[in-house]
Subunit: 162 residues, 4 copies
């Protein structure tokens, strides 16, 4: 894996968990508090690798369940295409999305979750923010690696960018 | 309304109801049997007008509830933009989508439904078809006005066109 | 038309003109200076009505040529679906997009233009802004009716929201 | 590379070259005749790997120029997200998209080309087909690996699936 990471872009998925009302309006965005690839403790979305032989939507479900717990009830989108691409590079200036470990091409999805979310494994915390809070300076300064920009792109995609 | 219909394009929504498995794969497409605008009895998707002062997603929810019943539990998409535009014209050759009553610009969405569907009001029946059945000649010949093509566009959008 | 406007949502198109480099990156956003529907002199995107019997993409081309001049060479997108919906209401608080004259459902597209743009007819001026300038407070305060938000949604769609 | 291919999904881009009229309507689809990964001589779209450190849209431009020649003048889309994902697997039944060499996650784009196309390198030929021809049995039987389905998905995306 280490040698592959030095030679090939790695396929990732990023999931922005959201709460949605009955009319399809996004009311809240979920963010994990965890150790980012750059070593900082940071607010982040669900993110992880697609395995050899794995379908992208199976990877999306697996990472949502791993990070949000087994009863989060994520609704995997019916559209297989991501709402945006997030290109992480070891050079922080290449695209604005930064991962010191690797070049990753991440397929980003907005994932409504209906159930109870219990952050598991490496996450310290999961908090929900209104669209206004999610793009506020107070929350943005808790994010690194370009994840604050990813949140804005996700909110724009759902028509809720303040 | 009659005089407006002769002078202005009318805003519509079309909803393609689908059953989805836990991984986001579309497993079935729902189609109503009803009297089409051209007078034929036809397999159709959910379709209707956006009212003055109404948000598009509220119209989408209203028509899904009206045509699929109050416990269909439609999941209105978080993305406000339609997956395609359906331009209905009184001239059947203009775009391939036909409505003898009007020029309608319809915003088309794929809408997963989780609950029990009970077709109400004008529909004679609601039946569910696998993607293969939905594009088969037997089902296509039950559709008029271009709705068979709309089904293929919807299945392509979700990556399930056979 | 006046009586229809009081009873029906009107179909509109909004076009965000952009300059693009050879790799598909948006480098500049074009904005007209014109009298907005609310009477203010405002920075705006190309916007106009779809006529009875007109295809949406023909309306998009017509308004681009009318507002940007005959040699702007707009590239109408191959995807018929808009990147977002802009729902203008006479009530400024309904959606954040405001038009005192009507309820309009506008299909919004990003339109690369290759040629020389010469603002025609009602526009006082056409200016080009980098993505950073386009979302700056100085430019945003020249925009009304929610057009500043539309610019941010367009830049997010093309991955260039700062 | 060989050992990575046995352990990791590889990032690919697929480009469906199209001719477009001034209104954004796709009039023709381009297909190369070349040796497919499965050894057959097959009609195919432009396809290739994203390199370590390379932006996705730079890879898209590079493969278009390599396969269509230096004066094809491809218009790389402004939207960074693909219109669909093509998941190629060594098992032909896994997704319907087949590559005996590897598991590839391919980002698929429709790319209008304005210039002269001269197929270079490994391609034997480049031919242009109307949407009707492109989905006809005669052309479909010249395609392997699921590329016939990719053409249908691309035509559906641009609203031109017959």
């Amino acid at each position: 894996m280490e040698s592959a990471r030095a030679r090939l872009p790695i396929v990732y998925v990023d999931a922005v968990p959201v709460r949605v009302d009955g009319h399809g309006n996004v009311t809240e965005v979920g963010m994990l508090l965890r150790v980012a690839p750059d070593g900082s403790i940071s607010r982040m979305v669900v993110s992880g690798r697609v395995l050899f032989g794995e379908r992208v939507r199976d990877a999306l479900l697996r990472h949502c369940e791993k990070d949000l717990g087994p009863v989060a009830l994520p609704r995997i989108p019916v559209d297989p295409s991501p709402f945006t691409l997030v290109e992480y590079f070891p050079d922080p200036d290449r695209s604005g999305f930064y991962d010191p470990r690797q070049h990753a091409v991440s397929l980003a999805f907005v994932v409504p979750v209906d159930g109870d979310c219990q952050p598991t494994q490496q996450a310290l915390d999961l908090a929900w923010f209104s669209p206004e809070e999610a793009v506020s300076p107070a929350v943005r300064q808790q994010m690194t690696s370009g994840h604050d920009r990813l949140i804005r792109l996700a909110l724009a995609h759902v028509g809720q960018l303040p």
